[in-house]
Symmetry: C2
Subunit: 239 residues, 2 copies
């Protein structure tokens, strides 16, 4: 199931057979986390980086007053804490929102890649740059979109990302997140998430039940969200 990572790479540039093999060989033992468990702890210094095979995970920061903000969502095929390879210190945590299967790559293996595989190194670098690009879009959504448009934007983003790894059927995809968690993504209260969600349903933008989202009209939803998928950089070109 490292295939999803390969898909994510192939979606951005051609990956040679050798590079694919090297990438696959990076990951050793498989580990499972239950929903609610920390995959990576805030403040730790991991010697490994984590590839999410399946499940939903969140990067988050805790404030002293107990508030939580989720700064990123990750699905199968995401190299969740690749950045720890160079940052060394985790300034945030990674939480399993559902049961998760992951595989881990020792940092010394990644080091070897950087010493001998320039193109693959650039591709890994690229993955972290796309994370950054998503961060910028989220900042924009938090600062300058009202909550309804922000939520619509998030739905669009997750749809494109799930589809890219083959986890969407038409415009339907599984996105098992609770409203309380969603509140920590959007930076608003749970109550407001609930009411906003109802507004989206009432206007027939989405059908969202039992952790499954069905986008009724993608074009209209994108318009509401002012969504432009460019920032996900799903274009294949020499990097």
């Amino acid at each position: 199931m490292i295939d999803a990572l390969i898909s994510n790479l192939q979606a951005r540039d051609a990956i040679s057979v050798e590079e694919e093999q090297i990438t696959r060989s990076l990951f050793k033992q498989e580990v499972r986390f239950s929903a609610g468990e920390d995959v990576v702890r805030q403040g730790s210094r991991p010697g490994i980086s984590t590839l999410l095979l399946n499940g939903l995970a969140a990067r988050y920061k805790l404030l002293e007053d107990g508030k939580r903000q989720i700064t990123g969502l990750h699905i199968g095929g995401d190299f969740v804490d690749l950045h720890a390879f160079l940052l060394k210190h985790m300034d945030h945590g990674v939480l399993a929102l559902t049961d998760c299967e992951v595989m881990v790559a020792p940092h010394r293996s990644l080091q070897t890649v950087t010493e001998s595989q320039p193109h693959l190194t650039r591709m890994f670098w690229l993955l972290t740059l796309i994370d950054g690009s998503i961060h910028r879009e989220w900042i924009t959504a938090m600062g300058r979109r009202e909550v309804k448009a922000h939520m619509a934007h998030l739905i669009c983003e997750m749809f494109y990302r799930y589809r890219a790894v083959g986890l969407a059927q038409g415009t339907t995809f599984r996105f098992p997140i609770t409203q309380a968690t969603l509140a920590d993504v959007l930076g608003v209260s749970t109550v407001h998430v609930n009411k906003t969600l109802q507004a989206l349903r009432a206007d027939n933008f989405v059908i969202w039940r039992d952790g499954v989202i069905q986008i009724s009209n993608l074009e209209e939803l994108e318009q509401l969200a002012q969504f432009d998928p460019t920032y996900l950089h799903f274009n294949r070109e020499p990097r």
Copy 2:
């Protein structure tokens, strides 16, 4: 004045004399931008990356409805659009907030670095990862801090960053940003920026006049902001 970039690198790991020379040789012609000019245009595909020598610049996104969100601030020594080297397409613009001097590095030179200088490559990668780390902190501030604390947090961050490149005298530093621009950083209205700033002044946290900030009591300001400089990764270690 590439020194500030070297400082930024040296602050995170030892850089060899050879690496320093290679880094310096990357940058060719010097270019000047006046306040208000675009350094990099949203939607463009630059063949070069830009090092800011001095001045203040902002990354920003424009929404269709005319709203603007600033997603990052950059000062002398910041490799402003290094990420364009691999992302290729600019999903946001970079704006000179004051007159700016920059130098540019052709992407093919950066390509050469990645082919032959693994450690330097990792250091450049690291710079983009620190940008990402700052993005996460901004997301958290936007989502879970009230405006007063958010503003305090930004002041703390800019102080640490200016100090790291030798541009702070004690707790005083030049930060020539208008309140309207600050509003686009914090994601609030200009009116509210003004009132929040007055509150910070009234409580004697800062003296901010003519583009110069003097932090009256850093410790108290950091407490108000719940500021922890860890995310700036100002620690020197093997990367």
